[in-house]
Subunit: 155 residues, 2 copies
DNA sequence: GGCGACCTTCAGAAGATTCCGAAGGGTGTG
DNA sequence: CACACCCTTCGGAATCTTCTGAAGGTCGCC
């Protein structure tokens, strides 16, 4: 099997996994394409052809991947196409979108606590929930910092 | 507005958020019901009535919530119904289902690395991915340990 | 200012999820 | 051992997502 076909197959498998984990299907396929390509950057047209998908859906996927910060646009003088590539910290960004989720859970718990009577069972459960997400909200950014420090010290 | 209706409204809002974050809709509603109820345990029939949903769909939701370890069955002598309640560490369990996802990402990256040529751009990107998830896979369980220690020291 | 290249948006089709309600199985009781 | 109660399973309907293909917008160049 040609190397390129092998890469393509692996990319599709990874895309399936990402989509299992909640990423939209086309975003996952685009993501995987960026990961496995040997080109420095990819354009919308190249992606659409590689993935055998419409430019419309690739456009939507690119938009959302830029939105979560996993991709960046790369200026290429002399080309009118948009050139995209994976950001170095793409995976960290993907993971830390969790952070926003954690913040929302923390806030929801706080709301619930404010609305329940002290000593009620519901209050107790909401307090447990709030404590946990407060801890995570504090610690996750610190964990990312440690990750960056470890990575940078290796370079 | 009666307190119970208020709780119900808040529960539905939280359910919506959980479902945004990827939880199945009915599981999210059941989860929220457990969080906001003032009863010590809930049965399938009670949940179906409270949520105005069929017993069938509540049954499916209960099954999957038990599967991820957020609920536990509580023996109630003299009752033929199954009584369920939220586990104290439900949120930690929900979050740590992430852990499995991290492990899979780490493994996928390792596979990719093994299949690409050294010095290729793809190899470099896969290595970045692998490093990140390896770090997370190591650190997340430690973070949970710290959480439990902090919680227990408060009790 | 017209043209060509490129990207985005959108309506509708195709596909996947999710839910209900009925049927069926299991278990304890009289 | 027949019944009552409770839970689960499953087919099909309803709903929501996601994709395509076409139309339209933007920008630079001649």
């Amino acid at each position: 099997m040609p190397a390129h076909d092998d890469a393509r197959r692996r990319a599709e498998e990874l895309a399936l996994m990402l989509s299992d984990l909640g990423m939209q299907r086309m975003s996952a396929r685009v993501m995987a394409a960026f990961l496995f390509t040997d080109r420095p950057t990819l354009t919308l047209g190249e992606l659409a052809e590689e993935l055998d998908a419409s430019q419309g859906s690739v456009s939507g996927a690119l938009k959302s991947l830029h939105h979560v910060g996993m991709l960046e646009r790369v200026p290429v003088p002399g080309s009118r196409r948009d050139h995209h590539r994976l950001r170095r910290d793409a995976w960290e960004r993907l993971f830390s979108s969790q952070n926003e989720a954690v913040r929302r859970m923390m806030a929801a718990a706080a709301d619930g606590i404010a609305a329940t009577e002290a000593d009620s069972p519901a209050r107790g459960r909401l307090q447990e929930m709030h404590d946990f997400y407060t801890f995570m909200f504090r610690e996750l950014p610190l964990l990312f910092e440690r990750w960056r420090a470890e990575r940078d010290s290796r370079d």
